[in-house]
């Protein structure tokens, strides 16, 4: 097979990784599992890469940890590890669910959530789950380290604001949900053709009594980037959890997006119907899960 890359590095520190990026001056790419990038390159959709920098062996970034109120996921952590982690199942349910539908088992065994977020597809399932939880990403460069909301990293379909020549997405975190919170994810696919979602949606709700006190909703593909649906979540906050209110959230979501028919994937009408049908379903599931039960 024609080579998709020439040199392979698996640095064990972030500093080394940044150093390689700098040395290759735009000709190096960071990979987690590499499945997205390498499949596209093997298919001739991308130019071959001079150097790949495998981020999964960097010390300290291969595990899930807890820091204060956050659950922190290193960039080397695979989807499978996320799916099965009891802390994420309990305190970040929609992320466990969303990572669990990516591809198939083999791809989840090597693919990483960091890679999913950095790839910036309009409906990366793991990303959708993370957004609903208000996830943040840690960007490391030679200038230092900073945390930014994951929702602010998307520039366009498949384009991230993360400067891949100079920056590395090193960690991901989200606030652990409390006993008053529940989260849920769902996805509608078709069994034919490309394995891309027709719609992927996630939500996190916090309830006190039957009042929704905070909410996060995310969905894609509904535009060029994964959408953190603030207008829809805003409709719910301070309101009782009810089918009627969920309906208003649906309307708010639909008002703020332009759905399109995509060839061989879904008509605009079907996408709208799927949002109308399934958003209330995950909202209800999140309500049920709020209150500590799973």
């Amino acid at each position: 097979m024609t080579s998709a890359w020439n040199n392979y590095f698996a640095p064990d520190t972030v500093a080394d990784a940044l150093d390689i990026l700098q040395r290759y001056d735009g000709q190096a790419r960071v990979i987690g599992g590499g499945t997205d990038l390498l499949v596209e390159t093997r298919r001739g959709l991308r130019r071959p890469i001079e150097a790949i920098v495998d981020a999964t062996r960097i010390g300290g970034l291969g595990a899930i940890t807890e820091e204060d109120e956050y659950i922190v996921i290193g960039c080397g952590v695979s989807h499978t590890t996320i799916v099965n982690d009891p802390r994420i199942i309990r305190y970040g349910t929609c992320l466990s669910e969303s990572c669990g539908v990516i591809g198939g088992p083999q791809v989840r065994n090597t693919g990483t959530l960091a890679g999913n977020v950095a790839h910036a597809l309009p409906a990366g399932d793991g990303t959708i789950g993370l957004l609903a939880l208000g996830g943040e990403v840690e960007i490391t460069s030679s200038n230092g380290v900073c945390w930014i909301p994951a929702k602010d990293t998307f520039a366009g379909p498949g384009r991230s604001h993360i400067d891949r020549h100079r920056e590395i997405l090193t960690r991901i975190r989200f606030r652990r949900t409390t006993d008053n919170e529940g989260s849920a994810h769902c996805r509608v696919m078709r069994p034919q053709g490309l394995c891309l979602p027709i719609i992927s949606m996630a939500t996190r709700l916090e309830l006190h009594g039957d009042m929704i006190t905070s909410a996060g909703i995310s969905m894609g593909p509904v535009g060029p980037v994964p959408w953190f649906a603030e207008p829809a979540a805003a409709v719910l906050v301070g309101q009782p959890a009810s089918a009627q209110q969920f309906g208003k959230a649906v309307e708010a979501a639909l008002e703020n997006i332009t759905l399109r028919t995509s060839k061989y994937r879904a008509t605009e009408e079907y996408r709208e119907t799927m949002i109308r049908t399934h958003l209330p379903i995950i909202l209800e599931t999140a309500v049920r899960r709020a209150g500590g039960s799973q």
């Binding site: 890359w5 020439n6 392979y8 698996a10 083999q106 065994n109 490309l194 394995c195 008509t267 079907y270």
Partner: protein, 927 residues
């Protein structure tokens, strides 16, 4: 180059490898562990799965250096001290190994699951298996046997699923694994790409990528100059006939004047390695004058349509096939109810998991000249020299490959030898020439062996597919439920070259009215050329298409008549004494009624309803019945010659070898031949070896097509064994050889009113489908099936074919469509073509009906295609019963279906991938 250190199957590996390599390539090429197979190089099919530190990964996109310091397990490492791993033994016992190309991937994925569950002391459930193997594909088995085998291997007592069959003879009728299954589960079975010849070069083909164009010029000079390129050939370099074709010889080996579809070959390159060959392709400059393309079979017959083969007097009409019985005007006049509907079926792709590979070896090749020995010959115990031009290929028709290659090389047929290697699936897609002739041409041009391996993407582009059809069918019945007339007009898209279009569409035509006794029938079928991908043989061979129309109409008619769909079919089903639509009287072996009865009894067992709700899911049963010819029929000479040799083995006593060129593609032919011969010789099947597919050593068994091998080659093997038995009776203890040429009973061409086929096999299937009323998604929950096969020679491999065939037809109904846009394939990667995964594979309850055929070996008829015919309409009939919506195009699109359900519509016209409505067609073909 850098140093890669890892452990592979417990042994340390320390090698210098380019950092750019994938793990799959290092395993196969550097370490010569060819048990790990490559199916797609897209991380789609999972057959390349290996374990890294116990975790299943797809090795085709896994950088080799990611494995640095890790522990790799491949299929070759499973055995210990000559003892098979529990998974290997279970796969054997359960018949979960057919063609074998996916077997290592399935087993390694399963091992990952079993080890993981064992580590935490958890039992393995079926749900666990379905989740773990979701992206580990198989195209042959239908997954049921795989699930059972894994449960068994996890320590649970799960017997192999075997339907009840007649009491066996001494050998015939007993379930046993395919003789070649052992090598497949060990990873030692070799497919063509697993062979290595010293001095071997790598070849690639320059393809048109435009659907219709005149070739203005071909400039290969720069490519020839490239370092590492040994030869670049164009049409000017062809010594003999620049054409091939299994029926009509209309397909250029290398195009010189024009290209007629996107996959047409314009030049071939042989180079030191694949990367150089690929680079050389880019240096070949072909100038085209693009021509308007015709991409629709009805448009192809319009007066001003672009002509695909301008020299043909009939233009784009490949053939107008007609079938007539009685008088349809009288017939319809007597009908109380008439249903008139138009249906559409898609182009579909075989997706055998082994991409095509041919190796050409030049006449006089001596491997020692290149410093080595040759695996392939060492295996066969032969000497090193290839006296003749030799082609190694997994092919369904070795003799036809030989003859076509010889014609192009400009030599006598006998000057070429074809050695058939194991085929990783065929299903009809490996009957036409692909790389055989190209590899031979390059081998002779370079005087070195040349391997031509297709990528998955090239395979999708190039080989013939299942014909897309549009079918208008009018069915009339009296109010007491008797069919009185059927009229149908079919258009079949044959694509750029004839391939087997004539045969396929004849079959679609003769079977169009269904397995019913109908006094008045008229069917017109127009097989056309277009600039789409050629269409040819694919399991079901036209009957899969026309059955969709026939069995949909039957349910609609039953509804209008107020009759139960099963009862309506009973009133009309063929039986002994019936006359078929072509005028053939069924004198024996018609098990259709028993098939219907057994499926009906099962379906209605307990508290039966046609449809009910479970939460937001609507469930419903749907039924369809069908039939399929055994053998070539239509007057074609249908024969096979088998050679049997027997001798005394000091340990085993009398042993024998059956030799025939017939092809095994996982359907279990060697076991069938061995049992037939063993029965005649009075020895155990295990004492009979089978050598297939070497045109120098094996007499011609004919093509593996038309569900004919058990019948024709089975009889040839049986009769040759009988000859040997007679010779041994005269001269006991000696080594004897006999050849027997068996001719199937003569058949008559269509239109003469005589027997068109030697036999028919019959099928009834009921599908329990689940429709998600929120999303329109359709899942098959269960299939109940009954197949009349005459006699089950090997119930284990028979059941494997049934389950695999059913699941393949589920794919045709629900998930598969090879989409072309104005002659350019949208389906250009495996990611865009989904065949059923384990997630889509329902439990199957299987009944074997055995209405013996007197001329069949021990009563057997053909059955390889039979399971892949009626499942489509069974599913769409269920969808109708659930929702009131009639699906008229396949595959079912959940988007259109849901919108129809919500709008209260009664039908859906568009299938997934359809951009245009179903064309309106006139009966008789006024186009």
């Amino acid at each position: 180059m850098s140093r890669l250190q890892m452990t592979v199957n417990g042994s340390p590996v320390d090698i210098e490898v380019d950092e750019s390599r994938y793990l799959s390539d290092v395993l196969r090429d550097e370490l010569r562990l060819t048990g790990t197979k490559i199916g797609c190089a897209e991380a789609e099919c999972g057959i390349c799965t290996v374990l890294v530190d116990g975790t299943p990964i797809v090795s085709c996109v896994y950088p080799a250096f990611k494995a640095q310091g890790r522990h790799i397990e491949t299929i070759e490492g499973l055995e210990h001290d000559g003892k098979l791993h529990a998974l290997q033994q279970a796969f054997l016992d359960h018949g979960a190994v057919q063609c074998g190309i996916c077997t290592p991937g399935l087993i390694m994925t399963a091992k990952g699951l079993l080890d993981r569950k064992a580590a935490v002391n958890e039992t393995v459930s079926e749900a666990d298996i379905r989740a773990a193997l979701k992206d580990s594909y198989c195209r042959c088995t239908g997954y049921q046997s795989v699930i059972n085998a894994i449960l068994q291997a996890s320590g649970q007592d799960v017997p192999p699923y075997l339907p009840e069959t007649r009491a066996p003879e001494s050998e015939v009728g007993k379930p046993r694994p395919n003789p070649n299954a052992l090598a497949k589960i060990r990873g030692s079975a070799r497919f063509t790409d697993d062979y290595h010849f010293p001095g071997m070069l790598f070849a690639r083909t320059k393809r048109a990528h435009v659907p219709h164009a005149r070739i203005v010029s071909i400039d290969a000079a720069a490519a020839r100059e490239l370092d590492g390129v040994h030869a670049v050939l164009t049409h000017e370099d062809i010594p003999g006939r620049n054409a091939h074709g299994v029926v009509s010889v209309d397909w250029p080996v290398l195009c010189g004047l024009k290209v007629r579809y996107a996959g047409d070959a314009v030049a071939i390159v042989a180079a030191d390695n694949e990367a150089i060959a690929t680079a050389a392709l880019d240096l070949i400059n072909v100038e085209y004058e693009e021509l308007p393309a015709v991409t629709d079979p009805i448009a192809a017959l319009q007066p001003n349509a672009p002509q695909v083969h301008s020299e043909r007097p009939d233009g784009n009409l490949l053939k107008h096939i007609k079938v007539g019985k009685g008088n349809i005007d009288t017939g319809f006049a007597a009908a109380d109810v008439i249903v008139d509907q138009t249906y559409r079926t898609p182009t579909t792709e075989h997706l055998f998991l082994e991409p095509e590979c041919s190796i050409g070896v030049p006449a006089g090749y001596d491997p020692t000249r290149f410093g080595g020995t040759c695996d392939a010959l060492a295996e066969r115990g032969e000497t090193a020299r290839h006296a003749k031009t030799t082609i190694y290929v997994g092919s369904q028709i070795p003799y036809a490959d030989r003859d076509q290659a010889a014609a192009t090389l400009g030599v006598e047929a006998n000057d070429v030898r074809v050695v058939a290697t194991l085929m990783g699936g065929g299903f009809g897609g490996k009957e036409d020439i692909t790389g055989q002739i190209h590899a031979a041409l390059l081998a002779e041009a370079t005087k070195q062996p040349v391997k031509m391996l297709y990528s998955r993407q090239e395979s999708l582009l190039v080989h013939p597919k299942r014909h897309a059809t549009v079918i208008r069918m009018r069915t009339g019945a009296t109010k007491d439920g008797k069919l009185v007339a059927v009229e149908a007009t079919l258009y079949g898209d044959g694509g750029a070259y004839a391939s087997l279009s004539e045969k396929v569409l004849t079959r679609a035509t003769t079977h169009a009215s269904g397995p019913y006794d109908i006094p008045n029938v008229r069917v017109d079928c127009f097989a056309t050329y277009t600039n789409n991908v050629p269409a040819g043989a694919f399991r079901g061979f036209g009957v899969t298409q026309s059955c969709f129309a026939a069995e949909s109409n039957m349910d609609i008619l039953a509804g209008k008549l107020g009759l139960d769909p099963v009862e309506f079919r009973r009133r009309n089903a063929l039986d002994v004494g019936s006359t078929t639509v072509t005028g053939q009287v069924m004198r024996e072996s018609v098990g259709l009624h028993e098939c219907i009865d057994r499926v009906d009894a099962d379906m209605r067992d307990g508290d039966f309803r046609w449809t009910w709700d479970e939460g937001h899911k609507r469930l419903a049963w749907g039924l369809a019945i069908g039939y399929k010819n055994t053998g070539l029929g239509g007057g074609a000479p249908d024969k096979a010659t088998a050679e049997v040799e027997a001798w005394q083995d000091p340990e085993k006593g009398l042993v024998a070898e059956v030799r025939i060129s017939s092809a095994e593609m996982g359907q279990g032919l060697p076991g069938v031949l061995a049992s037939c011969a063993a029965e005649e010789l009075g020895i155990p099947t295990e004492s009979v070896s089978v050598l297939l597919g070497d045109t120098d050593v094996c007499p011609d068994g004919g093509p593996t097509t038309a569900s004919r091998q058990t019948f024709v080659s089975g009889n040839a093997a049986r009769l040759a064994a009988r000859d040997v038995a007679e010779m041994l009776a005269e001269a006991p203890g000696t080594r004897v050889v006999a050849q027997h040429e068996y001719w199937a009973p003569a058949t008559q061409p269509l239109g003469t009113g005589g027997d068109m086929h030697v036999a028919f096999s019959f099928v009834a299937q009921a599908a329990l489908c689940e429709i998600d009323m929120r999303s329109g998604e359709v899942q098959v929950r269960k299939i109940v099936a009954a197949h009349d096969v005459g006699r089950a020679i090997n119930p284990l491999t028979l059941e494997g074919q049934i389950e695999g065939g059913i699941v393949m037809c589920i794919g045709y109904a629900l998930t598969e469509h090879y989409i072309q846009e104005d002659g350019k394939p949208w389906t250009n990667v495996m990611a865009r073509y989904k065949t059923p995964s384990i997630t889509h594979a329902p439990p199957i309850v299987s009944h074997i009906v055995e209405h013996e055929l007197s001329t069949g070996p021990f009563g057997a008829k053909g059955m390889g295609e039979l399971p892949s015919i009626v499942t489509g309409p069974a599913i769409t009939n269920a969808i109708y019963n659930a929702t009131g919506v009639r699906v008229r195009s396949l595959p079912v699109d959940q988007d259109s279906l849901l919108q129809a359900i919500r709008a209260g519509a009664t039908e859906v016209e568009l299938g997934w991938g359809d951009r245009h409505p179903i064309p309106t067609i006139e009966f008789g073909g006024e186009h």
